[in-house]
Symmetry: C2
Subunit: 342 residues, 2 copies
């Protein structure tokens, strides 16, 4: 079995975006604000949006199951206030839940949170509860910068975030640390802001003792960990300067990297530097980079090619990266699979 | 000859920091503000601060010449206003100039600019002129985020920065794109902010047509290019989505990466992915990571070890990375060396 732990619903029916645009227009002119009930998307539409997109590519590429969350760049927590985000998160999470019911063999949902800049993360708990208990979500996406590129929240090591972590521990779910659209002109969303956030989150963990407070807390750092594996020596050296334990002990019981690195040398580096136990297969398909690499003839984001081709993994390590680690890091996924005899 | 293009004066005599602290105190209480003349550092002090530090390590490690600029984290352009930065930059640049006069065979100066958040970069020209014409500086360090982690300036592709670029073209000098201390609690200075800035700057160039306006402009992106080489496939794919030319043509006539990547797998990736013509030897010694790697027994920042050991380079490519490329990217360095018969 091959589990892709990083997929977003980037192909939702157009009605979703239209509704969101009306919601945004309603922030300035309340007469434009749509009701939730005005968004009507039928099962057939959902089915089609998946079948000709993610599911087709999964079949072509040979992955079986995707942990599926709302489109990251559309979370846009900086827009409006907590009510805006709450309504929007509920809609998006419900759609991913419905996809998981329509394709129970292929999609398992992960939740976005109704974060809003400057608002206590506690306000996300009700949505989180619903998504885990009623929708069967196996993880959350946690945005370390709900301001969208202005970085006005405290670091992830701050007690500000602890209410979320306490819930994660209670439910035994990991968080993927994933920002959304940048509204800072300095940062291109998928080319800079995403990667910067990955590096930033890792360093926030490194400088702190967060995982002493929460020894079983689990963070998935996407996009191959941003700059982290490439600069692993720098991070080992910085930890040493800061009198922290070796990174294996200090962070690698709690932090996992995905394989969303879109060329062979990158996956070769990742698998050479980071223990196989800390790598989770993922593609972020259909996502930021949708083209075919003229140098290889394959889709850039067809990351299975790179994982297959790297000389750094044996069969047992590949199995861990494809499925074993995911079942360990996402215990609710494992339980759901076992309940279905998988 | 081995040229290290990335060294900062991190070991300046304590009097410099003391003066700076008084300058900062003077922002709140003008009675504390020191005069420039109150900073007195003799040649012997300068000589000693270099001889037992950078120069000793250069001799031990076998590099000959360092392009030497003021301590990056001390630039702190966010402190005070343009007058604060102007006084501070003049002091720091003069010290690096004096070091270059005391050790003309080993140090060549590069200038910090008196940037200040929200201030027109034109105000940096007088200092830049002086540093090139009177002090023999062969490059500048340009801070894309003088706010120190709040990213309030326009992207490097904005006309805001063009007065600097016009001067760079006039003098035929490159800019190293280098931020300073982060005063945003989210970003650790050397573990996140530096690397993020490198990635951000690259992406700002990728999304723009800056190098169509300035075909001979040269940027050095330090710290091995942040996350860029590790995610080279992502950047190639994003350029493709944006209908930009191939990166070789679009950016690699103008952008160069240094070798400040502190472990073998990182340098192996850099030299596998980026053409040797675009790589410049550097260590940022004595800098962010000062310890000895217990896995190798060598200093983390002794990057020559990695460049020597990588299987991806032949002798001609190593020579380019050690010296040939630097002489091409820094024409004033080349001219200065030739004038001394080197």
């Amino acid at each position: 079995m091959i589990i892709d732990i990083h997929g977003h619903y980037t192909t939702a029916p157009k009605a979703l975006e239209t509704w969101r645009n009306r919601q945004i227009a309603g922030l300035k002119d309340p007469s434009q604000a749509p009701k939730v009930a005005e968004l009507v998307i039928g099962d057939d539409e959902l089915r089609e949006s998946i079948e000709v997109n993610q599911l087709q590519k999964m079949r072509e590429r040979g992955s079986d199951l995707t942990i599926f969350s709302p489109r990251a760049s559309f979370m846009a927590h900086h827009i409006g206030d907590i009510r805006t985000s709450s309504t929007w998160a509920a809609i998006c999470n419900e759609l991913c839940y419905r996809v998981s019911r329509l394709f129970p063999d292929n999609f398992v949902p992960a939740a976005m949170l109704p974060q809003s800049p400057g608002v206590d993360p506690k306000t996300c708990i009700a949505e989180l509860d619903k998504c885990v208990r009623e929708y069967g979500n196996v993880a959350i996406n946690l945005n370390p910068d709900p301001s969208g590129g202005h970085w006005t929240s405290p670091p992830l090591s701050d007690r500000h975030w602890y209410p979320i972590y306490e819930k994660m521990i209670e439910y035994d779910i990991p968080a993927m640390i994933h920002v959304s659209t940048s509204c800072n002109a300095c940062f291109h969303t998928t080319g800079a802001h995403y990667l910067n956030a990955d590096t930033t989150a890792f360093m926030q963990c490194l400088t702190s003792d967060l995982f002493k407070d929460f020894p079983t807390l689990k963070f998935v750092i996407p996009h191959g960990g941003g700059a982290v594996p490439y600069h692993w020596g720098r991070f080992r050296g910085l930890a040493q300067e800061l009198k922290k334990p070796l990174l294996d002990e200090h962070l690698l019981n709690n932090i996992f990297f995905d394989t969303c690195v879109y060329h062979q040398p990158g996956i070769d580096l990742l698998t050479r530097v980071i223990p196989a136990a800390n790598i989770l297969f993922a593609s972020e398909m259909i996502g930021a980079v949708r083209g075919i690499d003229p140098e290889t003839g394959h889709y850039y984001d067809d990351t299975k090619h790179y994982v297959e081709a790297t000389p750094n993994l044996d069969a047992a390590q590949r199995e861990k990266i494809y499925a074993g680690n995911a079942r360990r890091v996402y215990p609710r996924l494992d339980a759901a699979l076992k309940a279905r005899g998988r």
